[in-house]
Symmetry: C2
Subunit: 547 residues, 2 copies
Amino acid sequence: MGALRLPALTSIFTSSSSVRSSPAIFPLKHHLRLPVRRPFSAQSTTEKVVAPELGDGKGKVVDKDKDRVITPRSQDFNAWYLDVIANAELADYGPVRGTMVIRPYGYAIWEAIQEYMNVKFKETGHSNMYFPQFIPYSFIEKEASHVEGFSPELALVTVGGGKELEEKLVVRPTSETIVNHMFTQWIHSYRDLPLMINQWANVTRWEMRTKPFIRTLEFLWQEGHTAHATAEEAEEEAMQMIDVYTKFAYEQAAIPVIAGRKSRVETFAGASTTYTIEAMMGDRKALQAGTSHNLGQNFSRAFGTQFTDENGQRQHVWQTSWAISTRFVGGIIMTHGDDAGLLLPPRLAPVQVIIIPIWKKDNEKAGVLTASSSVKETLQAAGIKVKIDDSDQRTPGWKFNYYEMKGVPLRIEIGPRDVSSGTLVISRRDIPGKQGKVFGISMEPSALVAYVKDKLNEVQSSLLERATTFRDSNIVDVSSYDELKEAIAQGKWARGPWSAGDEEESKVKEETGATIRCFPFEQPEGPKKCLMTGNSADEVAIFAKSY
Amino acid sequence: MGALRLPALTSIFTSSSSVRSSPAIFPLKHHLRLPVRRPFSAQSTTEKVVAPELGDGKGKVVDKDKDRVITPRSQDFNAWYLDVIANAELADYGPVRGTMVIRPYGYAIWEAIQEYMNVKFKETGHSNMYFPQFIPYSFIEKEASHVEGFSPELALVTVGGGKELEEKLVVRPTSETIVNHMFTQWIHSYRDLPLMINQWANVTRWEMRTKPFIRTLEFLWQEGHTAHATAEEAEEEAMQMIDVYTKFAYEQAAIPVIAGRKSRVETFAGASTTYTIEAMMGDRKALQAGTSHNLGQNFSRAFGTQFTDENGQRQHVWQTSWAISTRFVGGIIMTHGDDAGLLLPPRLAPVQVIIIPIWKKDNEKAGVLTASSSVKETLQAAGIKVKIDDSDQRTPGWKFNYYEMKGVPLRIEIGPRDVSSGTLVISRRDIPGKQGKVFGISMEPSALVAYVKDKLNEVQSSLLERATTFRDSNIVDVSSYDELKEAIAQGKWARGPWSAGDEEESKVKEETGATIRCFPFEQPEGPKKCLMTGNSADEVAIFAKSY
């Protein structure tokens, strides 16, 4: 057996040390019975997590974790979420409270997001670049509502190279201030506009209540920043980018977000208008999954970012900024995951197809492995992300459960009888049991590739469809405050006409825990009366509890 | 003329505002006469750089920068370097002393490095992931030589969320400590090894003397970290990764680095052995361009990173770490650049071919532009990075100089006569004037693509060849300390047998300013006597002044 490594998997599942009890003495039951670690269940940050020890090195397998399971989603959504993250090895806590280590499998999802976004950003005329993360404290203070919004969340560097600094430095919570400082040096005339850039970076916000991916002290994101000659162009750009995010959510992540405008209360600190995409998680709480801000001239006035227009007049530029972050990975987990664990949309899955070779007798092994490798090569050559698990440390049944828990969209099984008939078996992760399993699929390359691509597309669409049905069955149209309260009390989203003020909005939040998630772009036609005041209203708003 | 934008270029040269005087009133002379900004010449960090104003918006072009030039390289290498960075818009100073903003054109070179490296890292079995950048101060203190090496350079976060922190946090200068903290949680038995990961991240070192790309307070890099069961495997890995870097330097960056082992004095703080690639810059100073460390068990002992081996014994893992950074971009500039500006190796150039359409009469314009677009599409479809500059704001001569300064390897000119004959003109950036210019090249797609690819390869090889010749003519074999001193005094590198101690090494540094760059892997055969002591020596060392 050699060094007992799983070479086919090391590149993506580098440290799969935590899941390794032998199915032989650890029979699979109805619900998932993989030994699990729960570093996220207890918010202890320095305590070392005791992961299951597997053996004494002499072949005896010691199972210390027989009773560990992934908490059923319906029982405790939060515990389920943390269990999935730990067991699928997406992330771990860092040593500093509220920080997160993104493990290879979780990071690969983020890389898939980056890959897609980078193309879209370049297609829409943006260039990547990089700004320093240390911002002089005085910069943050320049835009009044910006400092008000961010000052409670700042991490400050006060010592550098062994000396107390004269001016303390902010570790960027976002970069509008330093971007404007630089823009003043690059923008002179209308010929320099539009200036459209993006950076991939880490940002720091000193959050008190943290949750892996969803809200961490440091997170990864992209932040786009643009400057334009006119208000109209800035508005167009802000809308263009929320559209890019919306399309991404639907088409890649299979998340049917609702795009719209934030209320004044919920607008980004420093923006004129904030556009948002709001996603409904499996527990029906809303997740703000991406935002695009029309900053107007707020920052350009604060920093003096001006240009000479075609008539020789000095004017302040009009700006936007927009971002999505590693939070989106949390959104994917909480939208699609189920009791068996993670469920990844094929277009973002680090592994789209897992091949499990099955043999009993030694004389069957070579044939099965050869066929499996050849299937792998066929699929790989067609651009499909495919892996084989040919380890003989685990039974096929154990592997089935493991890759279901990892959310791999399709599983291929190849046994001795398949080899002789030139066929294989494919199972869909999104349809459990026999219903999702098809036998006798031809191994003939062109037929197989077409079939697999088709199935991946089907899984992709079916995830979106399922999430859309779930979303729509959990949004209630309300026409009064009582109806709103009832919908929220039932854990649903409420959609109703709204033209009341900030004060009434705060009252809803205090009394129900729900906030206005957005005024959706898609509005019902006809006259409307504000659910709170009875006055005429132009728009409906969506209210929900949120992350 | 519309809005006077250059749509074909905006995606890569987003803010090319600084270079825009009209050649009509700004004739080209012998040396480069582009108006230049020199933000780097003065280390003023908050002062706004006054960039050339272009016009009064009514068509009059005002040239305020007639006398600005790129300092000739031979005259003042440092001034030349800073001028190139400013004029080619590679980077700017950030507002905090020693920080750098990497502008789109500079960042695109870094992206090309990333793209290549990411593939190699994955091919060699590594997975990307992400560790938090805040490290508890106590971690840094655990490995004795590590804290000694890094403590003078640390940036410390002492305030978070408005409160003084109980334990101050280090902004990562490198991640061995936090990596080991996490490895202790993921590594249990020999089955978990090797554990091989990489992260792309920003790091902070509070440097006193900074220089764009070469040494900045914050920089971007990748850091690989691996853990192995045996010393031999760790050594193999450290060597494998220095080989990856060496291959990259030669084949992609056209930099003939010398790979070797660092002396004990120059070894990374915490490593057992450091391997390095050393590059000779245009001023003959050495640049450490990448390092790979065999960490032995230094960190695993400090952090208790242990595994149970096949015999059930607990053992400390053997580790490596390895990194290249945005410093490499500085190395490319200083290896290949010349008096005309930047010169980029084709394989890392954001734009490999610039097409300049040339017309005089209005009735020629359409034909020339159509032919240019079609050539662009042909080359693009073949995977060549190509741009057109069809702006009518600038004369062709101005554009020639501009893209030479930007280091674009090939220029294609297409005029009305070319259109009628179905040919075009290609000029090589690395061979100035008529010698590098070929007329009458067929526009026929397959012939053209083959020709351009060929030329790009030729430029690539010729850069490497030129740099190799330069390097070899500036390394002197020495057999005594006097010869060493003479070579160093001449600005050259000295190579000679060395078996003396740390003290003698320090003496050389004090007296000559040169350090041991490495004991190269390639060693001359035969018996050797230490240049300093006359004792027998196993190896030659290379001494040089360095960045």
